[in-house]
């Protein structure tokens, strides 16, 4: 036994004597994580947050949130002798007088932008694959809260340097608070300590930015991860993958090495960005002065959609009974985000309400298989992107040399016209994709060979899909009967009721549940394989059986729960052309 092993052994013994942790540690090391590139998006969120904590802590050693006026005398010559706030001066010092300070500041800023971007993309992945469905609704809500907190946190951080741009942003935030009916001025005065700009907002934002919100984010992330850990990750359909198992690599060593390595890769990318690509050059904007502003004032991208809605809103204001109600501010900055985020949070319940789906789901949907959800997502996304474009409409107008007025009028119309069009187009697109999948599944891959039958009839020969591909297309939970026998799940899958929580466990009692299936076709194969045991070793026999199964049961159309969910899981209308018929017959012949 080497010295290292001895050391590890005695340390482990010491800890276990006190915590009895062996069992927990072992189970943790053996925990299986499914593999898919899109599962890395959530990891990026986590890693960027860790990087934000690390770089942010470094910045707190030098930053001073005071609005006390000082005369700048640092290394940056163009601003020498200028009166500015201590906050801005310390931001300049971080950039010019602290070795590596600029690198840290820019990594911090890039990491914040990436944090928000990865949250949004991760959210899209979770949405479009249906990963938010029962039993993961709580994690969806936490994720949505993290998105909102991220926006707040980002905005607070963006305001701290007290440069011209961030001061303008703060003033807008103050004005938004003022627009709230009845309590608006009270809220604004409580937040800012009095009439804008006051002298305490930076110190308050600093506490919010480095303590309050990061603490909340940290807590929610912990809870988010604990739930993922406990509920286990979702997975896409594939050979052997069922609602009841998870297939992938174990935490130790492969997954830990990949995930840990990925953390360093993300950090490396941010380090390169932080030193090579300039971001938020506060020294170019100058100190904040309430009477100054620069053209092309832009918030960071994640606030852009609010800026966009504000720019598009017509100038409606109600003045009556000695009071003023400004819809032009309230609607785009308070009401609209309120509605958007509420809908986002309650979406899992909305969907299950309208689809009637109360089942547990551990297998992910392919977006095309749920056209209505995918269309809703694409529609929302188009709405968001239009707002984002509107948030930079002056830049866009400048680049494309159109008038800002045309730009605004066009976007005002587009915000109502485009999303419905996107909805319809996406739904059609999904149905077409389903149809082409269906054709692949039923018809097989075109081989280019035309055969003449003894009767004189010409038929096109097709090659059945490889089983792995077949399962990816049809999915274990699919109502497509050809699935039968194609997966280790076998017939148990067909017998399933609304969720394995009730019906399926009964199956288990009869012994048919589990990784080793007794489905008709998987005898002689070792169940948990990807490809090799089901497809490759099974060879043509396996394929044939799968195809045979499809035709055997094609006639009686089993009632499945998806059928009962109405419009939500719309399927393309069956397209039986004359040309298809002989091929089907031909296939049956070859199988038999």
């Amino acid at each position: 036994m080497s010295l290292l092993e001895k050391g590890a052994d005695s340390t482990g013994r010491w800890v276990d004597d006190r915590l009895g942790s062996s069992n927990f540690v072992r189970r943790s090391l053996n925990k299986v994580f499914p593999d898919h590139w899109s599962f890395m998006l959530g990891e990026i969120c986590l890693y960027t947050f860790i990087i934000l904590l690390l770089t942010g802590t470094y910045l707190t050693f030098f930053y001073d949130p005071s609005v006390r006026e000082v005369i700048y005398n640092g290394s940056y010559v163009p601003l020498k002798g200028i009166t500015m706030s201590q906050a801005y001066a310390s931001s300049l010092d971080i950039s010019f007088d602290v070795r590596g300070g600029l690198l840290m500041r820019q990594i911090h800023h890039w990491a914040a932008l990436l944090f928000m971007a990865s949250i949004v993309v991760h959210l899209m992945r979770v949405f479009f694959t249906g990963a938010f469905r029962k039993p993961r609704e709580m994690n969806w809500v936490i994720g949505a809260l993290l998105l909102i907190l991220g926006i707040l946190e980002g905005f607070a951080g963006y305001s701290l340097p007290d440069d011209l741009l961030s001061g303008t942003g703060l003033r807008i935030a103050y004005s938004i608070a003022m627009s709230i009916p009845v309590v608006g001025t009270w809220v604004a005065f409580i937040v800012f300590g009095g009439e804008y700009p006051g002298d305490s907002i930076l110190e308050r934002l600093y506490a919010v930015h480095i303590l309050l919100v990061p603490g909340a984010i940290l807590g929610l992330i912990t809870f988010h991860l604990m739930m993922i850990w406990y509920q286990k990750h979702t997975q896409f359909a594939g050979p052997g993958r069922t609602e009841e198992n998870v297939i992938g690599s174990r935490l130790f060593p492969a997954y830990a090495a990949k995930a840990g390595g990925f953390f360093f890769l993300v950090f490396a990318a941010l380090a390169a960005l932080g030193g090579l690509v300039q971001i938020n050059p506060v020294w170019l904007y100058g100190p904040y002065d309430p009477s100054q502003v620069s053209a092309g004032s832009q918030p960071d991208w994640y606030v852009g959609f609010l800026d966009g809605s504000t720019r598009l809103m017509p100038n409606w204001e109600l003045r009556a009974f000695d009071h003023t109600l400004s819809f032009n501010v309230l609607v785009p900055t308070v009401v609209m985000p309120g509605i958007i985020f509420t809908l986002l949070i309650v979406y899992p319940w909305l969907e299950s309400r309208f689809s009637g789906d109360r089942a547990y789901h551990n297998l992910l949907d392919r977006p095309r298989d749920v056209p209505v959800r995918t269309a809703i997502g694409a529609m929302s996304l188009s709405f968001y992107v239009l707002l984002l474009i509107a948030g930079g409409n002056d830049i866009v107008a400048h680049i494309f040399r159109v008038s800002i007025n045309t730009m605004t009028y066009t976007l005002r119309a587009a915000i109502f016209i485009v999303p419905p069009l996107v909805y319809v187009a996406t739904k059609r697109f999904c149905l077409s994709l389903q149809r082409s999948d269906e054709e692949l599944v039923h018809h097989g891959i075109e081989s280019g060979t035309i055969r003449r039958l003894p009767s004189g009839e010409f038929v096109e020969e097709t090659v059945p899909l490889p089983v792995a591909h077949h399962i990816q297309l049809t999915g274990v939970e699919s109502d497509r009967p050809e699935l039968q026998g194609a997966t280790a799940h076998g017939q148990a899958g067909q017998a399933k009721g609304p969720g394995y929580g009730d019906t399926h466990v009964l199956d288990a009692e009869t012994g048919s549940r589990g990784a080793v299936s007794d489905g008709p076709d998987s005898h002689g194969t070792t169940s948990h394989g990807r490809g090799s045991d089901l497809g490759l070793t099974g060879g043509s026999a396996g394929n044939g059986a799968a195809a045979g199964g499809s035709h055997a049961s094609a006639g009686h159309q089993p009632t499945t729960r998806r059928k009962s969910r109405g419009f939500f899981y719309e399927k393309p209308a069956p397209r039986s052309t004359a040309a298809d018929a002989p091929v089907e017959r031909e296939l049956e012949n070859t199988v038999d």
Partner: protein
Amino acid sequence: MSTPSGNDHGTAAGATSTGGQTPTSEASGGMTSSAAAGSIRDRLRSPGAQSSGGDTRGSDLSGEHFQQSDSSQQLYDNGRDERQLSHSSPPQEAEIQEPRAEDVDPAAARAAERLVSALFLMSFLGVIGFLVTYVFAPFTYGLEKHNQLFNPLLAIFMAMALGGIGAGAVVWAKRLMPDEEAVQERHPFGSDPDERAATAEALKGGLDQTQLPRRSLLRNTLLLGAGSLALLPVPLLFGLGRFQHKERTLATTGWKQGVRLIRQNGTPVNRNDLEIGGIESVFPDVPRGTKLADSAALLIRMRPDELKVRAGRETWSVDGFVVYSAICTHLGCPVKLYEQQTHHLFCPCHQSTFEADNACKVIFGPAARALPQLAISVDPEGYFVAQGDFSEPVGPSYWERPS
């Protein structure tokens, strides 16, 4: 397939699993002996005794020992408890799809090892480079002798240092570690009805023991006392802001009768300072006048015949000199972009556009109200002075703003 290491892992794990359970089982059994619900309670409590910190799966662990100690049934006979077994059993391994070159060819494996090592070495070099740059590279930021390369170099070395470890680990995992497809069973999510009922019973029993449901005096005073705690932070909240004369603060600015118009640098303005078509940011000549967020104004000069003077404002301008608030009535950005030909004032934040020659009426964008005008006159020395404050509150709307 199954790599030898994988199998060892599994076997060893299985052995520990059974061995490690017994003591906990006894401990939790003793702890719950008084429980009315017997074995089910036993089961419900033991997770608490087991789990510490982040161990969210304590229940599985205790479930297993429960199964072992209390039930003689075969695990698979009981559909509900299957989860505990499957959960703690080591994941089964599936076959490798296709052996990688590294699995069959020692030379390929050595090449992979060399690549990973090279990446780790790159990491080491990155660290050295970072340290050397940080300590020895010139770092002076006067514009003349500012070392443009300092931060890029730091970043490149830092990216090398971090990326080497990261890429090395990923390549290592992908090419040398077993390419396994491990299968693990999930446990069902809901508890079975017995367990739920027992929990509900425990809750209800506990509540009954507090006697809260039948002692209404206790209940009502508790509600009153605890509920009123919510009021405690309210005054503290109001302590955060200075609300004295809130409305007046919002409605007034630094301008008063006879206050001179000064530039940012403090100099007063007279009519010779501005050409026709010129514009100047002006502030009230009061203490900290240039720092007052709501007092910034714009002095614009146009030909007197270009200016469409509103009824009642005939005396507010002087020979084509007009002054408007520079604070946008939409969200308070300074309206600073002036188009000389059209006399349009443009807010760069949300593109509200105002007609400077027509009382600053809104002609485009989300702003709802014209920029307030400041009445000016000329003092004996020829400098512009204000006739008073703005005639209405400047800046964005708010609830108490008089219509």
